[in-house]
């Protein structure tokens, strides 16, 4: 694979570049492909959304960036360039210096990502002490300040709470506080609003938006719901079965979706239907078969050519699609 045109331009603005990423999971003696030939860029100050249903490889892609994949995952190929440095080849020490300091992470189900036996404020202060050479006392003050910025009500009091005493929304504010405490350049948010009430969901999204606007923090937002990303993302990457289906700026994805799967996602989002539910009827043999378009079994526009691997088709200088329907447009 060659670098796409999108990747070549604006290299000074470029913060993160994921190129031809291929990840497999080892289960007993079987190798299951989780991510295949995934490439995308994140510019400084931009919000990129990675959208797809469960099992599409979006979380695997996200975890691969700071090299936090579980032990049974293997990065077979690819390059992850962060500020020009390939993180796949980075040492443990280099990665630890980047995690929490340069790249912050926010997860789904925030309460489980907090140590149940530690005061939540101390968990924020912990990351500050780790990366900044300041005393515990100053870190505590700073952590309280961060909790306040995360719009935690009564940060002085909440600092001394334990995770089980917090609501899901409040726990997510603490986890976001933990992730951005050292002002990282990139925030990776993996389904940050799933399982939260709709009003809380909106508040958390507003908080992320504010972080992006006020601190110029780049965000990689992972979601199964196009509706969630519409108000915040600059660019959208659509993934299915470990592969990229379509990429474009948020307007072109919503106004002019090209890939049949993107259209299906849009319809699902409008109907309020959860694409997650579809994971069960996902044909598992597709995960291993590497030839042909992986969406062809569900695609209403399927044709003979779909048995071949779709190539990357650049539609204009800012968007691309992997679908034979557009082979004449390139």
């Amino acid at each position: 694979m060659t670098l796409t045109m999108i990747e070549r331009k604006n290299s000074s603005k470029l913060l993160l570049s994921v190129q031809n990423l291929k990840i497999q999971y080892r289960k007993k003696n079987e190798y299951i492909e989780a991510v295949e030939d995934v490439s995308f860029n994140i510019d400084r100050g931009k919000v990129v959304a990675l959208v797809g249903e469960s099992g599409s490889g979006k979380t695997t892609t996200a975890l691969a960036i700071p090299n936090l994949l579980p032990a049974n995952a293997i990065i077979k190929e690819g390059v992850i360039l962060y500020k020009g440095k390939n993180l796949i080849q980075a040492t443990h020490e280099e990665l630890r210096a980047i995690r929490g300091k340069e790249i912050g992470m926010v997860f789904q189900d925030p309460t489980s990502f907090l140590d149940p036996l530690m005061r939540v404020g101390d968990q924020v202060a912990e990351v500050i002490v780790k990366h900044e050479s300041i005393k515990k006392k100053e870190a505590i003050l700073k952590a309280k300040n961060i909790l306040e910025k995360m719009r935690v009500t009564e940060p002085e009091r909440i600092y001394y709470y334990y995770p089980h005493q917090l609501s899901g929304g409040m726990a997510q504010r603490v986890v976001i506080g933990m992730a951005i405490a050292c002002q990282p350049s990139l925030l990776i948010a993996d389904e940050p609003t799933s399982n939260l009430d709709l009003t809380v969901q909106a508040q958390i999204l507003n908080l992320l938006k504010a972080l992006n606007h006020e601190l110029g923090m780049s965000i990689l937002l992972i979601s199964h719901d196009l509706g969630v990303v519409s108000g915040i993302a600059d660019r959208v990457v659509i993934m299915y079965a470990g592969r990229i289906m379509e990429e474009g700026d948020v307007h072109s994805i919503f106004k002019n979706p090209r890939h049949p799967y993107t259209r299906a996602l849009l319809v699902a989002s409008e109907l309020g239907e959860d694409m997650v539910k579809q994971q069960n009827d996902f044909p598992s043999d597709l995960l291993s078969s590497s030839s042909g378009c992986c969406y062809r079994h569900k695609c209403p526009y399927v044709m003979e050519r779909c048995k071949e691997n779709p190539i990357e088709i650049l539609l204009d200088q800012d968007s691309r699609v992997y679908c034979w329907l557009y082979s004449n447009e390139s």
Binding site: P66, L68, H92, R96, A97, I98, R99, G100, K101, G104, M105, F107, D109, S112, F113, L114, D115, P116, L117, M118, E126, V127, K130, H131, Y162, H164, Q165, V175, M178, A179
Partner: protein, 323 residues
């Protein structure tokens, strides 16, 4: 909040002990023969029997007898030992220190050593040292205590005479500091036997708890914060894996008492374990039921202690009591 929790747990422990006392009362009632004869001893004179009947209210209706029994137990009167012709409390207290010495030393070695080896094991899972620790832990807790004790005597007291075969002190004990060293020298084999059995359990439990904690989401978050595996192990995983260890240590006290009885008898240790066997052999019912109640109190106290310790470590337990 913590005080409320403690008060609640103390009340529960009290009920547990009370139940045991009730059961021991029923055992005496259900036992064949005249309880007055049992309490006074087989060779008691009719006058003494009458005195005992009146002292214990055996001529009264059963409900009244129960209240009298309960009040006497609650005021620390467990009756008179037949074989020692002293109060049961006196006999128990006279044998308490050797047992406490043996049990606490062994427990501390087993728990501290087990946690240390578990940490050592979990720091590098599936490495050679992990496998070695795993195998030896398994072997240790599969060995029956009595066999291990006899083996220890045969190996390190008979074949290689490094340590005494039994007892707590030499027949002519040395004086001063040497007296302490003499006791320590006598303690080596029984402590090694008793701690070996529990050591393996703690090592395996710690390892399992740590590995589970390291796979939890909060450890993923800790990694994402840039913490090293070592920092995660000591700052997050260890505390979390302590909870099941504390609970186990509390509930294991009855197993320790069981093993203690065997070890004390193998090594002729002058503690409560040898005392209870002598009590059984001489059919000293007041002594054996007294020991039963005493062990029940110790078990309840240790469980209470473990629960309080768990509540100190785990804020979720504290708030579950309702603030």
């Amino acid at each position: 909040m913590i005080w409320r929790f403690i008060i609640k747990r103390v009340a529960l422990s009290f009920i547990t002990v009370l139940t045991v006392v009730l059961l021991s009362f029923m055992i005496i009632k259900l036992a064949p023969g005249d309880p007055a004869v049992l309490l006074a001893g087989a060779g008691a004179t009719p006058e003494y029997l009458k005195a005992v009947r009146e002292a214990y209210g055996l001529n009264l209706p059963i409900t009244q007898q129960l209240t009298i029994y309960l009040t006497s137990v609650l005021t620390g009167n467990l009756g008179h030992s037949i074989t020692y012709s002293r109060t049961v409390i006196d006999v128990i207290l006279g044998r308490l220190i050797p047992t406490v010495l043996l049990a606490t030393t062994s427990s501390i070695i087993a728990i501290a050593g087990g946690i240390f080896l578990g940490l050592f094991s979990a720091a590098k899972p599936n490495s050679l040292r992990d496998e070695l620790i795993n195998i030896s832990s398994l072997v240790l807790f599969s060995i029956p205590v009595f066999w291990l004790g006899l083996f220890m005597i045969l190996a390190f007291a008979v074949n290689i005479p490094l340590f005494p075969t039994g007892g707590m002190a030499s027949t002519t004990p040395p004086t001063g500091l040497y007296a302490i060293l003499d006791v320590v020298w006598h303690m080596v084999l029984p402590v090694a036997t008793l701690s070996a059995v529990f050591f393996g359990i703690y090592a395996r439990l710690t390892r399992g708890g740590l590995l589970q904690a390291l796979s939890m989401n909060y450890s993923v978050a800790a990694r994402a914060k840039g913490l090293s595996e070592r920092e995660i192990l000591y700052h997050h995983a260890l505390r979390n894996s302590l909870l099941p260890i504390i609970s186990l240590a509390g509930t294991q006290i009855n197993l320790i008492i069981g093993a203690l009885v065997l070890v004390e008898n193998i090594f002729s240790w002058p503690g409560l374990g040898t005392l209870i066997v002598q009590g059984f052999l001489h059919r000293d019912y007041p002594l054996t039921t007294g020991l039963l109640i005493f062990f029940a109190i110790i078990t309840a106290l240790m469980n209470l202690f473990a629960d309080i310790l768990n509540a100190i470590v785990d804020p979720r337990i504290r708030s579950s009591v309702g603030e």
